[in-house]
């Protein structure tokens, strides 16, 4: 591996990518990307996927009946505990 970030191969850059993305900075400013359309497209796709995923799953309420089931199960467990004493 070379010390000059501009001279990184795609394999070397992509090996560093999880850390570059995970560190919270802006990986799009990395020197390797200035001359590598393949890795630029990769980074752009990964950002698009993360963005799309955030919008994909709305927060939803469970059905009201679920509490009744949970309450019944709790009562059953408590009764079993009393009987086993």
């Amino acid at each position: 591996m070379t010390g000059d970030p501009k001279q990184l191969s795609c394999a070397e850059f992509q090996a560093q990518l999880p850390e570059l993305i995970g560190a919270g900075g802006d990986p799009s400013t990395h020197p390797h990307l200035q001359h590598c359309p393949l890795c630029r497209a990769l980074l752009s796709d990964l950002e698009t996927i993360a963005e799309a995923a955030r919008k994909l799953f709305p927060s939803v309420e469970p059905p009201d009946e679920l509490w009744e089931q949970i309450e019944s199960a709790i009562k059953r467990e408590e009764e079993q505990e009393i009987h086993s004493r």
Partner: protein
């Protein structure tokens, strides 16, 4: 973890209804109580107050159910898992000592219940470790070669949802926790008992695998 700034805490403030379910009615007081903070409710629930437990359910049900649904993708199984989480909570609530925020502790408990379910489901097929460490066959392809079309701006919701549901469980869990639930890598590492580097690397592989799947879809669309 600073709970007031954690993603779950922020979400909890706005997303969850605080109305308790109309249950445990025998122990419900005649005069409605004001909405209490988690800590008061937890102390009461630890002392066996069923109404307080019902209020905790009302406060946290949306987040827990949403997490379960995101992880398993099927309503019936998500309901079953949510029930399991709150049964677990009922059994274990006296062990909560307040070392972390209650919402963080409950989230960890929920994730452990989900993990246990995933492990049970995959036991007959793969080893326990493989749930959290996918096999080489599960690894995404590398991107050094052919210039496939970029996805940017053209992700189909259903295709992405399907691709996420088809991720190996370990990848899916980290992807959901980070990209959907908004946890930081240090929080995920703490919840899943792995290193921060492992969390970053698994997330990256999950995204690469999703990219592979979405590009395959796109190529197939192009041919048809």
């Amino acid at each position: 973890m600073n709970d007031s700034s954690s993603p779950e805490a922020r979400r909890c403030e706005s997303a969850d209804s605080a109305d308790p379910p109309a249950a445990f009615s025998a122990s419900r007081p005649a005069v409605a109580r004001p909405i209490s903070a988690d800590s008061d409710l937890v102390i009461s629930a630890q002392a066996g107050d069923h109404y307080a437990f019902a209020q905790l359910y009302a406060l946290h049900k949306r987040r827990i159910y949403s997490l379960c649904l995101r992880m398993v993708g099927r309503v019936a199984e998500a309901e079953d898992l949510t029930q399991e989480v709150f049964l677990h909570l009922h059994r274990k609530i006296t062990s909560f000592r307040g070392d972390s925020a209650f919402s963080t502790w409950l989230h960890r408990l929920a994730i452990n219940v989900v993990l246990m379910r995933l492990r049970k489901k995959t036991l007959s097929l793969v080893s326990l470790d493989e749930v959290m460490a996918p096999t080489a066959d599960d690894s995404p392809g590398r991107s050094f070669g052919a210039a496939d079309p970029a996805l940017a701006g053209a992700i189909d919701r259903l295709a992405l949802q399907r691709a996420i549901s088809e991720l190996p469980p370990g990848y899916r869990l980290i992807f959901i926790l980070h990209d959907v639930e908004g946890f930081e890598h240090n929080e995920i590492a703490s919840i899943l008992d792995c290193t921060i580097g492992n969390s970053k690397s698994q997330l990256h592989k999950a995204r690469l695998k999703l990219r592979d799947a979405l590009r395959t879809d796109k190529r197939q669309e192009g041919r048809s």
